[in-house]
Symmetry: C2
């Protein structure tokens, strides 16, 4: 029987939760929600399904040190740093190579590190279902999220007819993948009922991914060969990655493989899910005071409502008569912004980058 | 000829400029405007008129250490700490005792420590005029500020007929003192042209103040006797103050002496003046950026206007899309408030006081 693996993709630039997140400490390394970093929460959820030796984390060079620290329970060789980011298609190719070196028939899940999921049991059940589906046939299983609002920040998957059931959960054929829609289109998707959010969660076998690479992304497939060879010979991976990665084209796995394949199925998730895209998404996971404020650390709000006020250290963050603001203090930098401007944080980070010594705050 | 003295009253609770100001470091100990603490700026202005040995500073017990540090050029015995605050009448009585022990005919100015005055030459000229007036006759000279707006935060002085000129500057008799008016009344005062702001600046002789105390505040006059006796015998002052002060009644010199006296004259000032009552009064003394923001320290504002953004240390205060806010970072506490709420800072400080360990931030 094929072994099962989980590959966690832990990347990101650490922009949207600045100043708590930084380039070397992005969202998945922070306890944005809960007491542990989101990556650790993800690890703990999947540990119920596969042993530590079968869990890989693919991260970036600048985050590798911090990822190794929080993933101390994983074998060191299971944490791989991409020397440069090339989007998800190369990462999935690398994942297939890593798993394939352990079990050429291996089945593996690719999961994001930085989503908030409270119902671990449902998550584990859905993953079991997806593993069973991927084991039963040469398909690419996506776990989609049933939409709760007409979100324009996610891609959507349109499901087709029912394909099979596992543990009584229906898995559907996929009609098509669609990119981030406009609000009007998203409203139509929500009303239609057959569109599901693409959350970047996939389960498949090494042979299925390898065949898809060969068919739909032959250049990438060829470029990955030295990596597979190094793994087969148990050679050090870092020098090979350093050689191969800079030459790869940036491309997402959705675009490179999934949209072009006709063997994709989708399992609508039964767990709660939130990608917590930016500061304004945080409050729904916290207890609020009577005025709708969410605080962490030494925060004091007098006559203000619906604020996010987070303070690190024993620093008093005192807020007077302010509504709907994000105020986040860290030892070396503080952000003050109305929630309505949260999406413009990249403009602020560009300004910081241009400052003298600006890099120290990024 | 009588010697001249200056007594600077350096009190205050440090509330209105929190978190830069604290109980032990109120406004006059901060460089709210300029590079040096306002008290030091005041000292430097009056040093052109009287020698250091003739300058006294009356402050509070909690501020004494910091005052001694910034007033290192004054004789240590010239810095006196009131054990408890009892408003300005006891302070003026103490001032008269201090000066009287040096010269029973001494003429002295009582000046606040925490006002912003840019035109030192005009200030010095007006003080010279006031000294000359106080030397020429047994009068109480007040230096009033010609109002520029219908302020409701100051008391007013209504001037009567012209009394005398010194250095070509007219000094007027005082018709009456009035307390802080309503806006409508203040507008009338401004239109009338004969009302002047009471800025708490007085020049008079020891005999004039002593006689006024005996006549209008006999209880206070009696209570001050042990202080005068200790000074006459060159005994340590602190133990006597510790005994006398707690029993004194809280009362302002305006109410205790000036309003009841018929020998009060007023010199309308020729210098610029600002008591910088709270954070929103700060920007007019600073250079603004193109969007009307005023910054100090490592502050960065993206898409925001008319803010005050002050940061101490090398801490980056990053503000996004925020207008008309006060954002002040200090190493242990940060304030975020719209300018329109600046007057409510006392509510915030009451909340802080009620917090566990709250005193450490006051």
């Amino acid at each position: 029987m094929a072994q099962k693996f989980v590959v966690i993709i832990a990347g990101g630039k650490g922009e949207r939760f600045w100043p708590q997140s930084r380039a070397h400490r992005p969202k998945h390394l922070l306890p944005i929600v809960g007491k542990k970093p989101l990556l650790v929460q993800t690890l703990e959820r999947v540990r119920a399904l596969v042993p530590a030796k079968n869990i890989f984390v693919i991260t970036s060079a600048v985050q590798a040190k911090a990822v190794r620290e929080v993933c101390a329970k994983l074998p060191a060789a299971n944490i791989i740093a991409e020397p440069v980011g090339r989007d998800t298609a190369p990462a999935v190719g690398l994942a297939a190579a890593l798993v394939g070196a352990r079990d050429p028939q291996g089945i593996f899940a690719v999961l994001p590190a930085d989503h908030v999921i409270h119902d671990a049991k449902a998550y584990q059940r859905d993953l079991r279902v997806a593993f069973a589906a991927a084991e039963s046939a040469p398909v690419m299983v996506t776990i989609g999220i049933s939409p709760t609002e007409p979100a324009t920040g996610f891609g959507y998957i349109q499901r087709g007819e029912a394909w099979q059931k596992f543990e009584n959960c229906p898995v559907y054929r996929v009609k098509r993948f669609v990119e981030k829609p406009t609000l009007a289109v998203a409203k139509g998707y929500l009303a239609g009922g057959d569109y599901i959010w693409n959350a970047g969660m996939f389960v498949w076998s090494v042979p299925v991914v390898t065949a898809a690479l060969a068919k739909h992304a032959p250049e990438l497939d060829t470029a990955l060969k030295p990596i597979r060879a190094a793994l087969a010979k148990r050679k050090a991976l870092a020098p090979v990655l350093a050689k191969v990665y800079p030459k790869l084209t940036k491309i997402s796995v959705d675009y490179a493989l999934l949209e072009k394949s006709d063997n994709v199925v989708v399992l609508p998730s039964s767990f709660d899910w939130d990608d917590v895209g930016a500061w304004p998404a945080v409050p729904k996971h916290y207890e609020k005071d009577a005025s709708g404020n969410v605080t962490r650390g030494r925060a004091l709000i007098e006559g203000g409502s619906n604020n996010i006020v987070f303070s690190e250290g024993n620093h008093l963050l005192a807020v007077l008569g302010t509504d709907d603001f994000i105020i986040v203090h860290t030892p070396d930098a503080t952000l003050v912004a109305p929630k309505s401007k949260a999406q413009e944080i990249k403009l602020l980070l560009k300004r910081i980058e241009a400052e003298k010594d600006g890099q120290r705050w990024l």
